[in-house]
């Protein structure tokens, strides 16, 4: 009975699902990685995602181009990031609490705007599946990797881009320094708050794109609280990935793989109780976390606001 699971077409299907499912997690957790590496914990990712999802959807719903929708989401994400930065960096509020506040704010405002501006659940035509010529013809791999919508490709492109920015640019060096020893960075003329504002804006933009990837990419609808706590899992994935982009990629893929697997196990009527199937991703997450509890890279100044002392 498990034979069905190991046919080529099923395995390809599972991996294809996995690659697609990881998209919102990747955007959101890469964005969160920027923030956390600079020492700011943003628990409001889910709220920013909802705002991004709503604005992208609304702009497209109003008849504009998909890319305009994406830009609208990015703009809103940057604004939400600025709000978070203002509260946590300038006002030095406790980062955990202000993050939850931002989440509730995003949840409430996106619901309110949805009710007043749209009113009922509607559909739009989102980013279409875009098979990459030639590459998508490769048997197996082609379908798994090169037969997705544009936002999926963008998510995976963000992995090396984020890695490069963090590890190979002067901004990245400042981010890493500020997250670990803001006093030291400050004495060298690095603006600690400036760097943290920047990472909050980057993180906000990426979280908003994560939301847009749902509302105009993967589902093409908007519903209140449609992220269903996905942003919180994205924050957990940053810890899971030990604050490294490749770790975040691995975590997102693993989490998505197990999710894809359980959907396929059920859809193929393989006799595993669906309760067990539904629990699989969480069990897997706990197991992996237990074995990867390395915290070497944890930014020492994470969740600590910085005030220049004498």
């Amino acid at each position: 009975m498990f034979d069905e699971l190991f046919t080529i077409s099923t395995l390809v299907g599972i991996l294809h699902s996995c690659v697609r499912l990881a998209t919102p997690y990747l955007f959101a957790s890469l964005g969160e990685t920027f923030g956390q590496r600079s020492g700011v914990l943003n628990l409001g990712v889910d709220g920013i995602m909802l705002m991004g999802a709503f604005f992208a959807f609304y702009v497209v719903f109003e008849g504009h181009n998909l890319w305009v929708g994406l830009l609208a989401a990015i703009a809103v994400g940057i604004l939400m990031g600025l709000l978070k930065a203002f509260v946590s960096v300038t006002m030095q509020s406790l980062q955990g609490i202000s993050g939850i506040g931002l989440y509730l704010f995003g949840l409430g405002l996106s619901s309110l705007l949805f009710k007043t501006l749209i009113g009922s659940v509607e559909g739009v035509s989102g980013f279409r599946q875009l098979a990459i010529p030639f590459l998508s013809d490769i048997p197996g791999i082609g379908h798994i990797l090169f037969n997705h919508n544009a936002l999926v490709y963008l998510a995976y492109l963000m992995v090396p881009v984020s890695w490069f920015v963090i590890n190979r640019t002067t901004l990245g060096l400042k981010i890493r320094a500020v997250g670990h020893n803001p006093e030291a960075a400050d004495t060298l003329g690095v603006s600690v708050n400036g760097v943290r504002y920047t990472t909050m804006m980057i993180g906000g933009a990426l979280a908003a794109v994560a939301g847009a990837s749902l509302s105009i990419g993967l589902q093409n609808v908007f519903q209140e609280n449609m992220t269903n706590g996905l942003g919180f899992i994205a924050v957990a994935l940053v810890y899971f990935g030990s604050w490294r982009t490749v770790g975040v990629l691995g975590g997102s893929l693993l989490f998505s793989l197990v999710n894809a697997l359980q959907l396929w196990v059920q859809a193929l009527a393989i006799p595993v109780p669906s309760e067990i199937a539904v629990m699989m991703p969480y069990i897997m997450t706990i197991v992996v976390l237990a074995f990867t509890a390395r915290q070497i890279q944890k930014p020492a100044a994470l969740a600590r606001s910085y005030e220049r002392g004498e």
């Binding site: 919102p24 509020s93 506040g101 509730l104 704010f105 659940v121 992220t227 269903n228 309760e275």
Partner: protein, 341 residues
């Protein structure tokens, strides 16, 4: 510390501004000719195009039948997935003197009976259930539910006729929930095509639209060419069905707006008659004790075809025939069981 409190206040105020849109109404006097006041507590939002919306839409229908806000005032609390929140809301509405408080979720049972025994002058309604608490001496609770397997059966018949691959996908929320609908659906399919394959998958959530969307992808890749599903999470799945041009059969609310070209039928829960009857009873002083069931027979269930797309007459005919068979009792779509959403 002070600073933190100040910022928390700021955020809180922002939130209030953001969430202040609910249709609360406090100042209504209970004078002669004053409107009937009904409050509803529901697990998801009024726009979930599923369970909660079906009740909200029915309420507004009754409202316009009765003559608008002057005759019927509606207050609601949505997104009350957590029972503790719902319990507090039910008690608040009762204390504020609402004439009827509807607890629109199977999980609210204990809360309803607890509050009902404290506010014996207020009428309550609990769905999904057939238990009015009469055996516990409670007299002010109505119960209601939908015989969803009836619509499930008809949708199953339609699915079997539409499918050319003979593979059909079902997306459920939490295993056990929506059981009536899914059992009826499977029975309907197999009555028409005994060899057709029905793949059922659960996401483990009512609201995980992302996983529901992916489940739709999975079913399509596994060969399904007709899909159905339940709970508010299905919006994601309908989006996917729409994008892939795969037929979707809806339940609970009207879902055509999401998939104008793929949604073929909707089983719609019409609570209007139930609500009107409850209001009539309350006004004569009967505060509870009745258990209502939505069926095709009592017009509580309706099957609506999507007018925008062309549907073969034989499919429509088979669906109508199935409804008639159910009404007349020729077909009994699986045993009637309790507790379905």
């Amino acid at each position: 510390m002070l600073r933190q409190i100040r910022i928390s206040m700021l955020i809180f105020l922002l939130l209030l501004a953001a969430c202040g849109g609910s249709d609360e109404d406090d100042g209504a006097a209970n004078a002669e000719g004053a409107p009937f006041r009904v409050a509803i507590v529901m697990p998801s939002s009024t726009t979930d195009i599923a369970w909660s919306q079906s009740m909200y839409d029915s309420l507004t229908t009754v409202q316009s039948e009765m003559g608008g806000e002057d005759a019927l005032k509606i207050a609601f609390s949505e997104g009350m997935f957590r029972v503790t929140d719902a319990s507090a809301a039910i008690r608040d509405y009762a204390a504020e003197g609402y004439d009827l408080v509807i607890a629109h979720g199977a999980q609210y049972g204990n809360s309803v009976f607890e509050v009902a025994s404290d506010f014996t002058e207020t009428s309550f309604a609990w769905g999904t259930s057939s238990d009015t608490g009469a055996d516990r001496g409670i007299e002010n609770v109505f119960a209601y539910g939908a015989v969803a397997n009836e619509g499930g059966y008809v949708n199953g018949v339609v699915a079997a006729m539409l499918s050319t691959n003979d593979v059909i996908g079902v997306i459920g929320p939490v295993a056990g929930d929506a059981k009536l609908y899914i059992d009826g659906f499977v029975r309907g399919v197999t009555d028409v095509k005994p060899d057709a394959q029905v793949n059922v998958s659960y996401t483990g959530s009512f609201s995980d639209t992302t996983l529901a969307a992916e489940a739709a992808h999975v079913h399509i890749q596994a060969g399904a060419d007709v899909l159905t599903g339940s709970a508010q999470q299905v919006v994601g799945a309908i989006g996917v069905a729409n994008e892939n041009g795969v037929a979707w059969l809806g339940t609970q609310s009207d879902q055509i707006s999401l998939g104008p070209n793929v949604v073929v039928t909707n089983q719609i829960y019409n609570w209007a008659n139930v609500i009107s009857d409850m209001i009539a009873k309350i006004e004569t002083g009967e505060l509870g004790g009745t258990a209502y069931k939505l069926t095709f027979e009592n017009d509580g269930l309706r099957l609506e075809f999507n007018e925008n797309i062309e549907i073969a007459d034989e499919v429509k005919e088979a669906a109508r025939a199935a409804i008639e068979d159910i009404k007349s009792g020729v077909v009994d779509p699986v045993l009637l069981e309790e507790d379905d959403e």
